[in-house]
Amino acid sequence: MTIGAPILEVEVLVIGLFVLMVEAFFERIDKRTLAFAAIFGLAAVLAASFFLAPAPTDVATTGFWSFYTADLLAIFFKRFALVTTILVLVMMVDYAPVVRQSVHGTTHQSGLGEFFALPIFTCVGLMWMASAIDFVMIFVSLELVTMSFYVLVSFTRRNPATLEAGVKYLILSALSTGFLVYGITWIFGVTGETNLARVTAVLADPALESGPALFGMVLVLVALGFKIAAVPFQMWVPDVYQGAPTPVTAFLSVGSKAAGFVVLLRVLQPFFMMPQMVKALTIIALLTLLYGNLAALPQTNLKRLLAYSSIAHAGYLLIGVVSFAGEAVAYYLVAYLLMTLLSFAVLVVVANQTGDNIEDFSGLAKRSPFLAFAMLVAMASLAGVPFTAGFLGKFYIFDAALRQHQTTLVVVGVITVACGFYYYLKVVRAMYWDGSSIDAPVPVSRLSRVTMTAMMVAIVVLGVYPQPILNALK
């Protein structure tokens, strides 16, 4: 039995609407069952994604298949979005008490239903984005994702820090939308097309003046730079990551970034023969690596630290992009998903008891050896210790860069890895070396425990045996 790839989005959409309806018409139920239902549903869709009917491979000139592709990259990132959303929903269940405190309503669980429904719609947007091969499609699906993030980021609106984050995210995202639209306009103006394949075909004509199209592409790159948090478009990241509700931060740092990279990989294809483009991206990658890693060094708040670390990882991913290594980028993103979401999952649980500063993790090894070990694995992987997925990701990236003789990038990359060891191990130090005034054990729900264990196992297994990911792309 097989299904068509576009059905996947419809299914997810139905799950979202279902959650929304139940939330609206059944006030008495425990809203957390909605999250469990959604997790179950998304898992079912994830399973269904392994029984896909083959999609048309050649791009149609008009109609559905001129906007939508179901190639391997798209399917891969659809699954990626589903996994991310499932993990974020698990985190959101743990985070529910905080939402309750900051969104007072008529009932004690008011607002929770929407909190669980919005990520599902975001997930649909991410899945559409993974399939987008037309600038119009990219625009609308990107806006769907952005729109739901506007709401999610400012969701706990009783908390002033959250609102500030929301406003900052709003303004900078809207700005990036402006650049995106204007850039697409220029590309359309030169080529008369919005479909990526046809844009490529038109641009291949040497008689065409490429300057204006390149200008349009630069504007699109600026917009995507905001999404993937590349320097110099990263200024919103630390504040928004720190202020937003923690599961949303996790979603933002993984889902939004991954989608940005898929679009980047697709959009860059028509422009990669231009040496200016590679040079510009190389410089952006260098700046991103340096800024993300150096600014992370003095941080004392874990959410903020992870924000800078996400900028830093964008730098490594950009090395992969500059080296034309789509496979390496995809693998790195998977590793990034696992390790980032694992650290956020631990953060949510621990922050419920103490707080989200690094010093709040002091003595975690005594309070909850399980959580401390999970965090240790996540940090080791983020830093790039072998036998974790994070190391293999860096390995692929550096290998790709050396293949393209990007020596500068590699040298800077290696230096910044050493910086990374310093700030990630700061967290490890707090957990294992430092004592704590609190001795109360940290409660972990069974669902979180199972999820975290699964993520730890995945990090280690993929760190030794990367073949499943590589096969999925072949």
């Binding site: 119009v136 625009f139 609308v140 806006e143 729109m147 506007y150 709401v151 400012s154 609106r157 009783r158 002033p160 820090a161 609102l163 500030e164 984050a165 929301g166 406003v167 900052k168 709003l170 303004i171 809207a174 700005l175 939308t177 402006g178 639209v181 204007y182 697409i184 306009t185 220029w186 359309f188 103006g189 008369g192 919005t194 630390p238 504040d239 720190q242 202020g243 600014a295």
Partner: protein
Amino acid sequence: MVTLGQYLIVSGLLFTIGFAGVLLRRNIIIIFMSLELMLNAANLSLVAFSRFRLGVDGMPNYNAQVFVFFIITVAAAEVAVGLAIIVALYRARQTTHVEDINSLKF
């Protein structure tokens, strides 16, 4: 006669005015209006391209106009959500000033 270039320059100027507004103004509502200016500048360029670069049938390229339609819709939705966030901020902090929302620092 008016040329495509003139339309593009006018639209570019509008885009720049909007961008300058985002960079220079500190009032969030006005920043938001400036963002609308930028989006509309893009719309003007799109429509100009649609009229000047005719399709194969000798009529304007309506693909661009559909895109403009999408942009207007998205912009309207964005305004609605954005203003809701700004109202929530005003309720909590009694300000719409960018400089007042800097409790999060480096």
